[in-house]
């Protein structure tokens, strides 16, 4: 049987399949459909320092092979997370990762400090790439100095594995990746959603309440694959691939491009069993190609 285990800094994942934050709730939403513990890990919905109501409805527009969302980090804040959500995550024995966002550096630091004290949260993913909030989010992830500053500040208070999730809405994602690596990130995950827009021609109005939103789904896969390839060539830390992954073949493409693990996002909405199907499909691929360990695939692109 081929080995599926991968390492991300200090973390050992039983397989390279994770869930993308904001597409998998807190895991329990999927308990009826799959054994969540079968996944390499879960990255739960973003947590901010304070309660956030998110953006007004409508927050979603379907697009060719994908969707735009403008949820805007709706969550009840870190204190609520610690008290009410964290206890429910203890039933998962795989890797549980919190996604951390905010509108100020102090806010990020506060959430990271509180997450650091939770034994069962083995890593955080710093979300400096949400396109749907007016302040913070993507604003931090689109310049090297601000990406570096927030990563450095969080690094000072966070001892465990620190993943930084990068925005594709930049001139050079490679430069941002190098900046956060230098500032102390243990891994980078990419890409977050691409800034997009939808218009209803009949009403002449934008579909989303926020006018613009984040594009996800298979439509963005080629862009994501290209960015993972570019970033993994220059950083020394592990890269986690995200962007339209819906099948084992998609996942393997990201591994070949240089990713050590992958996240399944929007595909969780169209088929809640996507993640477990991908794990089975990766195993099948390894067997067909007589590859002993999945980690041998990382960066295995033949040029």
């Amino acid at each position: 049987m081929p080995g599926l285990e991968v390492k991300l800094h200090k973390l050992t994942l039983k397989n390279p399949v994770l869930t993308a934050s904001g597409t998998f709730g807190y895991g329990e939403e999927f308990d009826d459909f799959i054994d969540v513990n079968a996944l390499g890990g879960i990255i739960v919905k973003a947590t901010t320092s304070k309660h956030r109501e998110g953006n007004p409805y409508p927050r979603m527009a379907e697009t060719p092979m994908g969707m735009l969302n403008a949820v805007g980090l709706q969550n009840k804040g870190v204190d609520y997370f610690v008290k009410n959500i964290y206890p429910k995550l203890l039933k998962y024995n795989n890797c549980v990762i919190a996604n951390v966002s905010d509108s100020t550096v102090e806010g990020y630091v506060e959430v990271a400090e509180k997450m650091n004290r939770l034994d069962h949260i083995q890593a955080i993913e710093l979300n400096i790439s949400c396109p749907n909030v007016k302040e913070g989010g993507m604003a931090f992830g689109t310049s090297c100095p601000s990406a570096s500053a927030v990563t450095r500040a969080v690094r000072e208070v966070y001892d465990k594995t620190l993943i930084v999730k990068l925005s594709p809405n930049v001139t050079s994602i490679v430069d941002i990746a190098l900046a956060v690596e230098e500032a102390g990130a243990d891994a980078v995950s990419l890409i977050n959603t691409l800034l997009g827009m939808a218009i209803n021609a009949e009403t002449r109005r934008p579909v989303l309440s926020t006018v613009t939103g984040g594009l996800s789904g298979p439509a963005i896969k080629p862009v994501a694959l290209r960015m993972v390839w570019q970033v993994s060539k220059v950083v020394k830390i592990p890269v986690i691939g995200i962007g339209g992954i819906s099948s084992a073949t998609d996942a393997i493409e990201f591994l070949l491009a240089g990713a050590s693990a992958i996240q399944v996002g929007t595909a969780n909405f169209t088929d809640p069993r996507t993640t477990v199907k991908i794990i089975a499909g990766i195993e099948d691929y390894l067997r067909r190609h007589s590859i002993a360990e999945v980690k041998e695939l990382t960066g295995g692109l033949l040029l």
Partner: protein, 269 residues
């Protein structure tokens, strides 16, 4: 209530009028337990422009025959594909989703449906009838051809009809029907599903007469299981997901709705 992902078989697909179809689905395994007001998320195969699943109310469940029905209104390419499904084709479906209506017992209830908003009302009328309620059903539409399945509701109680052009039942908007005027006080509960403006108007009438009311909302959804947070409605407790905290709500708990009810402003928007 446990949710399932199933491949159901199309047993029949009946056109009700130009743009409404009734899909009958079956399975070799017993269908899951479902309650009126819950819905299903249907995957549309073979339609490249339909990426996400489509939510539909559970229209009818026949336990004895182990079948269920969905009422499909054709609005775009995805629903057109569903309208063209043939017998024995397979449909991938997530269900049962959402909370469902609160069933009254031994009471007097009114169901109000407009357009394809009648979709969840058949299952509801049947269950309410079985719970010993005196059931009345008010259905509205633009014209006689838009009034769907009115005959089938008669098994469960009185059926009232309103059409805007007067071709069937009372002439005018469903919300102006006489049953919502002088007779309304006799009802202990009103259930409503239809266009937003219609539901707000019915909620207003219910509130003005101090009658319990439940409305079934239909917001744009991605996941249907509370993961994406796209389908939210503003409630007195903040944004809630229509797919999991709803689709059925007491309109008094809906933020902009109760404001409208309190001030009595124009509701037919």
């Amino acid at each position: 209530m446990k949710k399932y992902i199933l491949d159901l078989k199309v047993l029949s697909n009946r056109a009700l009028n130009q743009n409404h179809h009734l899909l009958e689905l079956g399975s070799d395994e017993p269908l899951p337990v479902m309650v009126p007001g819950q819905f299903a998320e249907v995957r549309v195969d073979g339609s490249p422009s339909t990426y996400l699943r489509r939510p539909f109310s559970i229209h009818r469940v026949d336990r004895g025959a182990n079948t269920m029905h969905l009422l499909i209104k054709t609005v775009g390419e995805g629903t057109r594909h569903l309208a063209e499904l043939k017998k024995n084709e397979s449909l991938n479906i997530l269900l049962p989703l959402g909370n469902g209506f609160t069933l009254a017992r031994n009471s007097e209830v009114l169901l109000v449906g407009g357009g394809c908003g009648v979709a969840p009302l058949y299952f509801l009328a049947e269950q309410l009838f079985r719970q010993g309620n005196k059931v009345s059903i008010l259905i509205g539409g633009r014209s006689a051809g838009d009034i769907l399945l009115a005959g089938e509701y008669r098994a469960f109680g009185n059926v009232y009809i309103a059409t805007e052009d007067g071709t069937l039942g009372e002439k005018g908007m469903v919300t102006a029907h006489s049953v919502l005027k002088k007779e309304v006080a006799s009802f202990k509960k009103i259930y409503c599903c239809g266009p937003d403006g219609m539901m707000r108007a019915v909620a207003h009438i219910a509130a003005a007469n101090k009658i319990d009311c439940e409305v079934s909302l239909e917001n744009t959804m991605a996941c249907g299981i509370g993961a994406c947070l796209c389908c939210v409605v503003e409630t007195n407790q903040g944004n809630q997901c229509v797919c999991t905290e709803g689709p059925v709500f007491d309109p008094l708990t809906l933020k902009n709705w109760s404001a409208a009810v309190e001030t009595g402003c124009s509701l037919d928007q």
